[in-house]
Amino acid sequence: MTVSNHPNPSRTWAETLSSPLRTAFQHPWVEGIVRLGAVEDTLRAVHPMLSITEARARVVRIVDETPDTKTFVLQPNALWQGRRSARAGQFVQLRLEIDGRRVERIYSLSSRPGARLISITVKRQAGGLVSPFLHERVKVGDVLTLSQPDGDFVLPDPLPEKILLLSAGSGITPVMAMLRDLQARGYPGDVVFLHVCRNPQALIFAQALRTIEEEFAELSLLVHFDDTDGPFTAERLQYAVPDLAERSTWMCGPAGFMDVVHRHWNSYAMAAPLHSERFVAIPAVPTTAPGTPVTVLLATSGKQFLTQGVDPLLVQAEKAGLAPKHGCRIGICRSCQCTKRSGTVENLQTGEISDTPNEAIRLCVSVARSDLLLDL
């Protein structure tokens, strides 16, 4: 089943207003007089939500869901088109500046599509960068920058007759949006919501789930607590949901949990479709030993090449018959700098490893340590 037919939303008034302004300010003759950055900074000084380029949202409420999970209720500005276009299960990319560095993270929307206020629910990752920042530093009234909603983990139109929403831990967020959507749309079919977590204290959305259960007659709500019910297995899933094979399923949770369910699905060759969303924001690309051949994909030109040996990426690209822009070839001038969208590279001069997505790298002093996607 394909779910990629996003509805094409008509442009909002804010987009209609800001788009020609954006084009005008980006014109080289105008740019030489007033920079778009100056316009944006001025607008931000007037009001932090005011922008002609960025969708932003103000934090209006922060809810403690569990001791390590918080829900941030956000009021988006008019440039955020998700109120019309967002579908249950989709995510937004949040952009923050932490200690001077821009960082981006993906969070599923847990709110009902079309709601005036949107929400994301964030579990604090020990040793993480963004989630502790959100938990400790972000206050009510702060303004965050966010992307338009995106993602293919969505409910189809028309809806199937039997649905299973299956989640574990903080993977509950996108399926919670789906559940809210089903309720709001008056879904007449049969929906099972099965969530797995350690114990009642770790249950995210406990209050909201109880309320929905009372109001939404078609819902069977099942919660599995690992501490008291034992580890969650395929057998337990089959036992809890006997008609599993007939249920179109949407699943989100930790990798181990999802692997168990996927294996079960495959070994019984279940007919009903299983959709899943990995909520690990950064797909871990395994780092290879220096000199291992890896594939380098160039996003803009659509070209690709296979590396050979331990030469830097600039030399590798040239060996492959490409001619990327470059200058000094010894890591000084930055002419060969480009954005690495994903993968791991090592800086030959400093030994620094860059494995975060969307980092600027210099081709002449970087060697590939995994498959790469470059903005070239």
Partner: protein
């Protein structure tokens, strides 16, 4: 001025020097954060406020005093934009922030020089081949004879005049630098390549003229002459100031010049040594350093071109101590003293070399 003597340091000492310089670099680069971003954004804010204030004074002010104040404010904005902001941002000093407004490869500045051409002539050519005769095109800007190693030609009689013209129109000197007119007239550059470079230069200059000499004067209606003259004066002040600072960076007394054959197979340590001996600093306070875009720390800048420049004063004492330890010359002095030595050098090399007995071969 003759070519740099081979260093007195042994291979092992050069390697040790390299490691120590790297350690100084790391001590700053591992602590980049909020305060560096705050600094550059503050500079950008001051620059914008100064430009708005300056233009407002020129447009709406009455009397000569407000004109002078307007010129000073606008010149201040242009100097900040070119020196502390543009030059440093385009070196990639703030690329680690991920902020597109501080992206080295996308930045454009308020000067007749096209940013992309600057990134080539300055970041690629000058910073890589610093003070290598025949490779570093900043050595006399293909206009002035700065060393005995450059062949004297009769046109060098006019060198003091050429120097004055370059100072007054420095933005056009910098802007046309990457055209490599000499290379083209000698047939070493194909015409389409030269044409493309020329178009880029003219397009940027055209935009600057449109802004400063057409649009803003026109907007001032009857004050047009006042605004036109004010904009011209502000550009002139910026030209003179940037010229003085930049000429003190590599043309002072005691700066070493290199032969290309001596710089082949350089290690990072060799490269550091060449950057150190090929640059000279200016002493001054915090305000002076900012107004010079921290090019008053030319030595530190050439060692660490992508370190946020406002950190140079922090590493300068460590570099100076290192120089003492290895017995290396750390070239620094006041602006007046340093510029005087530059002028002396320009005038000395105006004259044809004295005929001396041919050196024994």
């Amino acid at each position: 001025m003759s070519f740099a003597q081979p260093t007195h340091l042994t291979r092992d000492q050069i390697d040790a020097f390299e490691r120590e310089v790297n350690a100084i670099r790391d001590s700053v680069m591992t602590t980049l954060g909020q305060r560096d971003v705050d600094h550059i954004r503050r500079m950008i804010r001051i620059c914008r406020a100064s430009e708005i204030g300056g233009r407002a004074l020129l447009h709406f002010g009455i009397g000569p005093l407000s004109w002078v104040a307007g010129v000073m404010a606008l010149a201040n904005a242009k100097i900040l934009d070119n020196m502390e902001i543009g030059h440093n941002v385009m070196h990639g000093q703030y690329d680690w922030t991920g902020d597109p407004a501080l992206n080295s490869q996308k930045f454009e500045w308020d000067i007749a020089c096209d940013a992309e051409q600057w990134r080539h002539s300055h970041n690629v050519t000058h910073h890589t081949f610093t003070n290598i005769l025949g490779r570093d095109r900043d050595l006399g800007y293909s206009l002035l004879r700065m060393t005995d190693a450059q062949r004297w030609k009769p046109r060098h009689w006019l060198q003091p005049l050429a120097n004055l013209m370059l100072a007054l129109g420095f933005q056009y000197g910098v802007g046309s630098h990457d055209l490599e007119i000499g290379k083209y007239t000698h047939g070493a550059m194909p015409k389409p390549e030269f044409k493309a470079r020329l178009d880029r230069f003219l397009s940027k200059t055209g935009k600057q003229w449109f802004k400063d000499y057409l649009l803003f004067p026109a907007l001032a209606l009857w004050s047009a002459p006042r605004v036109l003259a004010g904009n011209f004066a502000a550009n002139l002040i910026r030209n003179l100031w940037t010229y003085v600072i930049i000429f003190c960076g590599h043309f002072t007394d005691g700066v070493a010049i290199y032969r290309e054959e001596d710089t082949r197979n350089e290690t990072r340590g060799d490269w550091y040594l060449r950057q150190l001996s090929g640059s000279s600093n200016l002493t001054g306070g915090r305000f002076f350093h900012i107004m010079s875009g921290h090019l008053s720390h030319q030595i530190e800048h050439h060692l660490f071109p992508d370190m946020p420049a406002h950190r140079y004063p922090e590493v300068a004492p460590k570099i100076q101590a290192l120089c003492e330890k290895y017995g290396l010359f750390y070239n620094t002095g006041g602006l007046f003293k340093q510029y005087l030595s530059v002028m002396k050098r320009i005038l000395t090399h105006t004259l044809p070399p004295r005929r001396t007995a041919p050196a024994p071969v």
